[in-house]
């Protein structure tokens, strides 16, 4: 077994394990940071697959996103410290069934889809970054710009909804 295969397996398992921890803990903070480390392990998985830019980006983006999620979980849940030992799971049978179906579908897709010829050698990291940049400013530009504008619109709308209504004082 090559070192690469070992690390891919290791980070894959770490990611799944942290994913399980998300639901095994009672503390909102631990739950949020377990999800972060699950995503960080995915970033490390990308790194061991020689997709350097993707890996570093994943490791960077998830840290801020999950930390921000943590404060919202702490603000909105009734027992953020987990002292009351609130159960993080519900609808267990349905969730189990859905989980198994989704897992089977993912495995089936991985095994039965014709992926075409697999690249034997990955281009070096600087070349990958260059190619990704060209791709983002070429064929994929419309998709990314549309997504960006949509997210911006959602952010402005969410801020507008969250602001308290302005009381207008009428002159009588």
């Amino acid at each position: 077994m090559s070192a690469q295969a070992f690390f891919i397996g290791f980070f894959g398992l770490a990611s799944v394990w942290f994913g399980v921890v998300v639901f095994r803990t009672h503390s909102m903070m631990r739950s949020a940071l377990a999800l972060l480390f699950s995503q960080t392990a995915l970033g490390a998985l990308f790194l061991s697959m020689q997709a350097e830019f993707l890996g570093v980006l994943q490791i960077m983006m998830m840290a801020t996103e999950m930390s921000i999620m943590a404060i919202f979980m702490v603000m909105f849940m009734m027992d953020p410290g987990g002292l009351g030992e609130m159960d993080m799971t519900h609808q267990k049978r349905l969730s189990l069934a859905a989980g198994f179906v989704a897992f089977a579908a993912a495995v089936a897709a991985a095994v039965f889809v014709d992926w075409g010829p697999v690249a034997s050698v990955a281009p070096d990291a600087a070349q990958q970054t260059h190619d990704l940049g060209v791709e983002l400013l070429g064929r994929s530009m419309l998709i990314f710009e549309t997504a960006g504008i949509t997210i911006l619109t959602a952010m402005i709308a969410a801020t507008a909804v969250a602001m308290p209504p302005v009381k207008r004082i009428r002159n009588k």
Partner: protein
């Protein structure tokens, strides 16, 4: 070998930062002060507060140190003195330093104390303020170098340093770096006098020593990154490259420490307001100007 040498230099740098910090704070220049303070800290009891989140409490100081060290791994001190010259170096510095936030959140939540928790969450707000002002000026630096390699970024400044090529970006990055290292006037998460030390409040003994060491490593790493991005890295006449790197890094550190010394601590809401209403438009303007310069000047 290179790794050991860089770590040794980083330790020496952190020591000098500690001397400089004490000097700017108290006005007394004492070379032995950090040793004395370190021994005193190691000799004290490292108290664990009641009902802590033990994992976070123990991991936080180590994670702070680790994220600073990881960021330092891609910062070149001379053309050869770099631990790993990643093809995504400029991005990797960000990725590593984001975990400073995670460490401070852990340090805030872990000890089960009110002051610490307020300090930790404050730093999350602080990140929302400074994060874009770290990333967007780096974008402009990378645009000029046409590479994310940190060595390539230094090489791109051979004719003209970025501090002159894009002064606006330098000012924004410098201020944001101070906020990232929670130096005064941006020391909101620790806030001595107001939060009684904030995230540091519940730590003592060896854990506090590791936390402080991590903070010193963070300051020196950010100063080194500023030198690489804006001050031409190891380049300079007469002296050897390592000497130029050392002089520039210490000068930037001293400036960072002195700049905030006489200022009152900024309020969280004001920091957010200034960064988003003034900082981000200026950063976008910087990218726009650099874009034109890159296209106009071959």
């Amino acid at each position: 070998m290179t790794t050991a040498l860089v770590l040794l230099l980083l330790a020496a740098g952190a020591y000098l930062v500690a001397v400089l910090e004490a000097w700017t704070a108290s006005g007394r220049f004492r070379l032995a002060a950090p040793v004395v303070a370190g021994i005193a800290l190691l000799g004290r009891e490292s108290i664990v507060p009641r009902k802590p989140d033990r994992i976070f409490f123990e991991v936080a100081p180590v994670l702070l140190l680790l994220s600073a060290l990881l960021a330092a791994a891609v910062v070149p001190l001379t053309p050869d003195l770099i631990i790993t010259d990643l093809a995504t170096g400029a991005l990797f510095i960000n990725a590593a330093l984001v975990y400073v936030l995670v460490a401070l959140l852990m340090a805030g939540w872990g000890p089960n104390g009110a002051y610490a928790m307020i300090g930790g969450w404050r730093f999350l707000g602080q990140l929302i303020a400074y994060a874009m002002l770290i990333v967007m000026p780096i974008t402009a630096v990378v645009m000029r170098a046409e590479s994310l390699l940190t060595t390539q970024i230094v090489a791109s400044q051979a004719s003209l340093w970025n501090i002159i090529y894009q002064p606006l970006g330098f000012v924004l990055f410098f201020v944001a770096a101070m906020a990232l290292a929670f130096l005064p006037p941006f020391d909101l998460p620790t806030a001595k006098g107001e939060l009684a030390g904030g995230v540091e409040a519940e730590y003592g003994g060896v854990r506090l020593a590791v936390f402080r060491l991590g903070r010193l490593a963070l300051i020196i790493t950010l100063a080194a990154a500023t030198v690489v991005f804006y001050l031409g890295g190891w380049q300079g006449p007469w002296l050897p490259p390592w000497a130029w790197s050392a002089i520039k890094i210490l000068a930037v550190t001293a400036t960072m420490l002195l700049a905030g010394h006489a200022m009152p601590r900024i309020r969280e809401a004001d920091l957010l307001g200034w960064c988003w209403k003034l900082g981000i438009p200026l950063a976008l303007l910087n990218i726009f100007i650099v874009g034109i310069l890159v296209l106009a000047l071959p």
